[in-house]
């Protein structure tokens, strides 16, 4: 597994953990106010960033230990672009559903949850696509 594959796998795991924690918290707390929902969104965002940074640091330390260089070339750029394109479609569909929900009178809390869910799914698709393209080719 190359550096990029490890990075994508780590991000996928991190997103899975964050998504699971988010879901559990939303079910447990059932936030009824905008502030409570915003707080959860903020915590989730911060957790995602911290986990991603921690995973990146751990990977770089590991690579330094085994003597592998994390370079980037045309293939990495192309696969990243293709993966982002896949994620874009999921994000677009997700946000379109949020707009439909808004017209149907769903609460702001519900809309925020859906928007975050769409973001998490899109990010998961991006990293899963990267892993797929690295393993199967383009």
């Amino acid at each position: 597994m190359s550096y990029r594959q490890k990075q994508a796998a780590a991000a996928l795991v991190a997103l899975g953990v964050v998504g699971l924690v988010l879901m559990i918290r939303l079910i447990q707390l059932a936030p009824q106010t905008m502030w409570a929902a915003f707080s959860i969104l903020l915590q989730t965002g911060l957790a995602t960033i911290l986990i991603t940074i921690a995973a990146g640091l751990a990977l770089r330390l590991h690579l330094r230990a085994v003597g592998e260089r994390p370079g980037e070339d045309e293939r990495d750029v192309l696969l990243d672009l293709r993966s982002r394109r896949n994620a874009y479609w999921f994000a677009t569909i997700g946000l379109s559903l949020v707009i439909v929900q808004a017209f149907r009178g769903v609460s702001v809390v519900g809309l925020a949850e859906s928007a975050l869910g769409a973001f998490l799914v899109a990010e998961a698709v991006r990293h899963a696509s990267l892993l797929h393209y690295y393993r199967r080719g383009l």
Binding site: S2, D73, E74, R75, D76, Y134, G137, L138
Partner: protein, 77 residues
């Protein structure tokens, strides 16, 4: 070549590396400015390099482009 091939561009990089003094994938990657993983993906037919990278690979191996790369368009040519 092994595994599922995702491209119709055939290559003989492995043979050319062998003829070029058993050059390693890493050595070739360093010469052409790609990663070893990308050289490996090209050899396995999982990735088609850009024309520019293909020329650099051919030159690094001391052969012409046609000696290393071939396009299978199904016409049998």
């Amino acid at each position: 070549m092994s595994g599922r091939e995702a491209t119709r561009v055939r290559n003989r990089i492995r043979d050319a590396r062998y003829r070029a003094g058993e050059m390693t994938q890493q050595a070739l990657a360093d010469r052409v400015g790609l990663t070893r993983q990308t050289i490996n993906a090209i050899e396995q037919g999982k990735y088609s390099p850009t024309l520019e990278a293909a020329f650099r690979i051919a030159r690094a191996l001391g052969v012409t482009l046609e000696e290393v790369f071939d396009y299978d368009d199904g016409a049998g040519g």
